[in-house]
Amino acid sequence: MNLIKINKKFNTKLSKNIEQKKKAVRQSLNPLLITDELFRISKVDLKNLCYDENGLHSEEAKKRLSVCGPNEIAHEKADPWYIQLIKSFINPFNVVLMLLAVISFIMDVVLAEPDEQSWEAVIIITTMVTLSGILRFIQEYRSNKSAEKLKALVKTTATVIRKDTGKHEIEMSKIVPGDIIMLSAGDMIPADVRILSSKDLFVSQSALTGESMPVEKFDTPDLSKTKENCNVTDLPNMCFMGTNVTSGSAKALVIATGNSTYFGSMAKSIVGHRSQTSFDKGVNSVSWLLIRFMTVMVPIVFIINGITKGNWLEAFLFALSVAVGLTPEMLPMVVNANLAKGAVSMSKRKTVVKRLSSIQNFGAMDVLCTDKTGTLTRDEIVLERHLDIHGNTDDRVLRHAYLNSYYQTGLKNLMDVAVLKYGNEKGFSEQTDKYQKVDEIPFDFKRRRMSVVLQNGDGKRQLVTKGAVEEMLAVCTFAEYQGNVVPLTENIKNEVKEMVRRLNEDGMRVIAVAQKNNIPEDNSFGVKDECEMVLMGYIGFLDPPKETASQAIAALNEYGVKVKILTGDNEIVTKKICKEVGMPIDRIIMGYEIESMSDEELKIVVEKTNIFAKLTPEQKSRIIKVLQSNGHTVGFLGDGINDAPALKEADVGISVDTAVDIAKESADIILLEKSLMVLEEGVVEGRKTFGNIMKYLKMTASSNFGNVFSVLAASAFLPFLPMMPIHLLVQNLLYDISQTSIPWDNMDIEYLKVPRKWDAASIKRFMLWIGPVSSVFDITTYMLMFFVFGANKPELQSLFQSGWFIEGLLSQTLIVHMIRTPKIPFIQSRASAPVLLLTAAIMGIGIIIPFTGFGASIGLQPLPMNYFPWLAATLLSYCLLTQIIKAAYIKKYNDFL
């Protein structure tokens, strides 16, 4: 609901009950209406907007919150449990299985004679679908719950002015229409707002428009210049939820919140816009490969059995059961349960996983690019020095820096916090009474400096500027040199640079301070006024590295992840930090060098360089793109506004809890704890997740491929079906149950040491190599039952089928242990307890079934005791041949899972 409607309702129709108002809010959510309203409001004169300069009263805001609801987008919230449950069941495999269940129901129940009705097939297929859906739901629900709990700890806030409490930070979700908010660089725009006053305000609207260049917004634009058919985002006096301030500052009036915003109306198309990763695409391609496999195989099996056995109905039912057997119905469960399990275990380490598939990307990551300040270093910057040009301690320099930090309202910078803290300790807080702020020129990443214009009690005005040394030298023409103001000559500049270099070598981040008194009597100042300034001196900050930084970098290197530093800071400070965290310096490249390089040149340079300094946000993003085009999976760890484009570009964007809003919003993963060791744990968790998913995929693809041979050979050469449809279904259900434990399996330590990436070709070749092994022993079992045990007539088919039922189930269950490791199973590498117990239980159940009443009811019969030594020999030979083929596979491809 927009502000004008809200104001009218609250001011004139207070008698209306809350429910009616809520209904009105719901009715106003039409996207077209929202756009029209925004156009209309942009043209309304400010005084007609009925707002209070001092903001809303907290009580009034509370009332509005109860009517308009929290300032959140519905599509960003997790679905309610029942929707999650339904979604857990919707996948192509379950659709196929339910279709088969319906066919079985028609054939076995509806069309069957009353005394021949059989519900078993329908029940078994439905159980498979239920098992896969429920297990997936439980894991995803747990993962969503823990993510929600952690997300509640990550607070994105906005600065609001309220009548009774003044200017303060509140959670974005509590913003209501009519609130007055303050915006500065790094802020997410919390709602749709109309600008009331602004100062060099530039906003990035890329989330809404895709346009990467920031656009300028004004409080008093000439709307006549706005094109008639322009987009709502082109309105120069309106800012929109989902966009962010890149530079400048503003005061704004909240017009619409939550789903009533322009972003809310577009949320369906914007949220979840991220393209599929190679992993997502790969899993889909394997799914469709297996479905195609099934659709080709089933008609062939049906026709061959129909022709050779003459019973077309039985052949049809058998073909249906083969279809069920070839459907990897557990695939969505295993993939999602694995990812969700990874997210749950990360949440135990206080890490929020915003995008589930980023867990897998974490494991695939082989290059981690990281910003320096606030990520590798502690976010406790301390002011260490305040010096004049010659390097002597100078309180005047500190006082000017203090006034600049005190009066600026732009970017909430850690350095300003450090200046204010130090200044307060020195008693400078009393100085602020002597000055009045006239104007400010906010910080931006191009100028890398900020200014305030102050006036003292005598009416004397002064422009005080502080910022990066190079940028400050560019706007200074004088310097306070040996007690006098003298022209800033090349010699003095060189002296300054030398002093700064020495401070940098001590690990200090240096900011220059300058002032000028000769300024116009105007009340509005801009970047053009930052000229002909007098350089006063410097302030130096220490930004010590995090205690865990060196440990984390060493651990990442051990796990095959190369760490590269991408910083906006200068190379000397960066070098010092690198030394402290034990990072070898291969080569340092500066931002200006990159600017002149083509992508082809940069592709070579990025491989040989591990430190990039003086980078702009765009250059950080470009380096990531180039690394990706070189075939790397790239992670980016950053916390600043200048890191946001890189965080979005990276395969895994990682941020920290103390980061600016836009960085947290752009990240896939947010670390809530300061320790960087969680990065290593994330990498290991990602690789475990990936490994367990690959196990299932390779197992299923190869065993389905092998089954194709076994079924074709049986169909072509046996005078009866090798197994009744119901046997195939029971066997498949038991096999499915054994596979539900895969997400809880462990991986060999060697597997975890190397980055793991999706490789579609490896699944295909694995299928071709390992698949036929089981078929060999299926066929030898056919021969054993047919010739040794004499089950060679249709009357004796039950004995034959019982023999293959056990061998088939046991070999399929054993393959879990054979394929889960390149080592010798049970001896060199053992599965986790859940896998061991569940597979052993399923094998035990499989052996017992033919001896039970249930076995008899589905047409199985007890096997003679002399069958079991043959079975043991078959399984032993199967393991042996698999191990031989495995060894050959590893020798050839130097890879297994």
Partner: protein
């Protein structure tokens, strides 16, 4: 007669599959010595014992290159 057909069919299928599988070894050994996988794999299918022996006796081209 019916049983003989079944025997021949199943035994032939099993034999072909086993040969196709184990012939991978001469191919892999030859490849590890710098030869092409495919010809040695096919040789294994035609006459496995000879191909295996041949691959084992092959001179290691990779070693020669390093020397």
């Amino acid at each position: 007669m019916e049983n003989a057909k079944t025997f021949i069919g199943l035994a032939t299928t099993a034999y072909i599959m086993i040969v196709c599988l184990i012939s991978i070894w001469p191919g892999v050994i030859a490849e590890s010595k710098g030869r092409s996988f495919k010809p040695w794999y096919i040789a294994g299918i035609i006459c496995f014992p000879m191909a295996l022996l041949g691959s084992l006796l092959l001179r290691d081209l990779k070693k020669d290159t390093f020397n």
